[in-house]
């Protein structure tokens, strides 16, 4: 990627270098090793690429005539029988009444998750790192990481056990003589519920990178700071935090690249069908899925929405990556 004149020259030399003994054989072995992955990636990441043009067409189903080289019904219809409509499908999505809703939700939730997740992950990492009892610290971290491995469906059950009428929270209200809240029917409760459960599920996982980064810091700095009279807070503020900044920036930038990708399983399931929560649960992924299921003959509309999502994601990742490369070349993805 770093195309300096020198490295280009070097690469040319490398390319021109003749194949040594055993090198051809070795490369053949390497290519065979790569083969399963090459096939998988080709099928799942490259083969669908041309079908993205569906976003710019009005898909019409047609049967390929006998003898036509392309016998796949879908591909034949898409490439040969569906008229181009330009940006019409995108206009439909942009003008959809729900567009501002799912954009607000997707971006809004992601920003809040990023901010709160960052604070929690750094705090957890620092706390676990500072704890005197190393064994206890390990146990805590293990337990805090556990929710990461539970599916959102299980989380939906947990939430049900807490907020359904017989659940823990309404029961506690009743026991205290108060009216139990009906959280499934309370639209305003849902952003809070999502934030809580997102934190619950990902805080332990989020802290892992920070923890391993902190463990790698030189102890001498801390000793020096301590001798100079810095307490733990000042050590955090002036020693730990500045050293963490590159990692924080990198992870946040990567998160920005995924800002249009919402956790489908969470937003689709957690509300358990409660219609009051719908407006606050509709993210772009849920919208695309619902369009696929509700109108399978007009897949070009969700195709436009999905392409919009992929494209923005792609541009954001490239942009953020080039920023990372300028700030911290070591940490750039490519």
């Amino acid at each position: 990627m770093k195309a300096t004149a020198l490295s280009k020259e070097t690469r040319k030399v490398v390319k021109k270098r003749s194949w040594g003994t055993g090198e051809v054989k070795r490369h053949l072995a390497y290519l065979i090793m790569l083969l399963p992955g090459i096939i998988f990636l080709f099928v799942f990441s490259y083969l669908p690429l041309p079908t993205i043009i569906m976003a710019f067409k009005k898909y019409k189903l047609a049967i390929p005539p006998a003898g036509h080289w392309l016998q796949n019904k879908f591909l034949y219809s898409l490439f040969f029988k569906s008229p181009w409509v330009g940006l019409e499908n995108f206009k439909f999505i942009l003008n959809a009444p729900l567009f501002p809703v799912f954009m607000r939700n997707t971006i809004g939730y992601n920003l809040v998750f990023m901010a709160i997740g960052l604070v929690a992950a750094v705090a957890l990492a620092v706390g676990i790192n500072e704890l005197r009892q190393r064994k206890a610290a390990k146990v805590y971290h293990t337990i805090l990481f556990l929710p990461y491995f539970l599916s959102w469906i299980i989380v939906t059950y947990i939430l049900f056990a807490f907020i359904s009428p017989a659940g823990v929270i309404p029961q506690a209200f009743t026991a205290l003589g108060m009216t139990p809240p009906q959280l499934y029917n309370n639209a305003k409760a849902w952003p809070i519920i999502y934030v809580i459960f997102n934190l619950w599920k990902y805080a332990g996982n989020g802290s892992i990178i920070y923890l391993s980064t902190i463990t790698g810091f030189s102890q001498e700095l801390y000793e020096a700071a301590s001798i100079d009279g810095a307490g733990k807070w000042k050590q955090f503020r002036y020693v730990t935090f500045p050293q963490l900044v590159p990692t924080i920036i990198l992870l946040q930038i990567l998160a920005v690249g995924r800002i249009l990708n919402a956790d489908f399983d969470m937003f689709y399931n957690l509300r358990n069908g409660a219609s009051a929560a719908y407006q606050n649960s509709l993210t772009i992924d849920v919208y695309v899925y619902e369009m696929i299921k509700s109108n399978p003959s007009k897949l070009y509309y969700p195709a436009a929405a999905a392409f919009f999502q992929s494209l923005i994601g792609f541009v954001l990742v490239l942009t953020t990556n080039s920023i990372v490369r300028k700030v911290e070349p070591e940490m750039a993805m490519f």
Binding site: A29, I38, L41, R132, V168, A303
Partner: protein, 320 residues
């Protein structure tokens, strides 16, 4: 959960402690941290405990008195029902999920383990190209509709078991982790000496490198297995045959409608005795019992595999 966000304000308390020879947390701050982390851990464990307790509670009591920290009236009838014909569809879902998880995990470890190895070798000339080839899949997501059309109209794996594991059986993300693992754990000298001893690439990989890379494989395997076990979206999008539903999908449907639960019980074999059961279907505790058997394997396996993945992840996460 709020306890976690409260952790930061606790830090300044350290200011009150006197200077120490050892740069350790003061006893007070240490106690505060312990308390906060214990509260955090309780937030993680208590919800699971409540679900488990509910599954062992008599259904009528559960509906009447609600979810408790201890079963008001202990009953194993939800599990009995699950094991009887009533849980028939659940057993099918279990079988599908186990099969998909095993197949997908094996495929994933083999394909990722193989793909990452040449990328970790500096003597591989096309390293850059194949690194980019896999990276691209991470950077540009083809989107749900293209994926849906691929599976239904091109590969036609919808309504087959393949839909439950094939799309999850490789990931560029794991390639990066695995490649870094090879690089940082397998010294070049080991590979060089194997080569000098006349071992071919395959022998080097299988007999020298693979045994050293087991923690890396374990990490990939565990995450792949958990990913497939927990997968819901594939079944939602691509499966509409009852006999191919996986655990997460079945579980989600059961919570959405009690009707599904009844149909499930009715459709599963033994007609007469099942229908007799429908009246006293232990719906609520039965649901919770199913959640327990779905998360059970993960929770039981967790203490054993967590030491692997923390190691594998922290090594792999540091980009190389």
């Amino acid at each position: 959960m709020t306890s976690m966000t409260n952790i930061t304000p606790a830090l300044p308390k350290k200011k009150t402690s006197k200077y120490k020879d050892m740069n350790q947390l003061s006893a007070g701050a240490n106690l505060v941290w312990n308390v906060l982390l214990i509260i955090g851990c309780l937030f993680c464990i208590v919800p699971l405990w409540i679900v488990i307790v509910a599954s062992f509670t008599d259904n009528a009591t559960l509906v009447m008195k609600g979810y408790k920290f201890w079963p008001a009236v202990f009953s194993g009838s939800a599990y009995k029902f699950l094991l009887s014909s009533g849980g028939g569809s659940m057993l099918v879902a279990y079988k599908n999920t186990v099969a998909a998880t095993l197949l997908g995990t094996v495929l994933c470890v083999i394909s990722v383990g193989l793909y990452a190895y040449p990328l970790s070798r500096t003597d591989f000339r096309y390293r850059r190209f194949f690194t980019f080839y896999s990276f691209f899949s991470m950077v540009f997501n083809v989107g749900t509709v293209a994926f849906y059309m691929l599976c239904t109209s091109i590969l036609q794996i919808n309504n087959t078991l393949y839909a439950l594991f094939l799309p999850q059986s490789f990931s560029a993300y794991w390639v990066i982790i695995m490649r870094t693992f090879y690089r940082s754990n397998i010294p070049d000298s080991v590979i060089e000496s194997a080569r000098i001893d006349g071992a071919g690439e395959w022998r080097t990989l299988l007999q020298i490198v693979a045994p050293l890379a087991i923690p890396g494989f374990a990490t990939v395997a565990l995450f792949a297995a958990v990913g497939i076990w927990n997968n819901y979206f594939n079944a939602l999008l691509l499966i509409n045959k009852r006999e191919l539903y996986n655990l997460q999908y079945t579980l989600a449907e059961i919570l959405k409608s009690i009707q599904f639960l009844k149909e499930m019980a009715a459709s599963s074999g033994g007609a007469v005795d099942t229908i007799k059961n429908l009246g006293d279907l232990p719906s609520e505790s039965f649901r919770m019992a199913m959640a327990v058997v779905t998360m059970g394997p993960i929770i039981l396996a967790y203490p054993f595999f967590q030491k692997y993945f923390v190691k594998g992840l922290t090594i792999g996460a540091v980009k190389g």
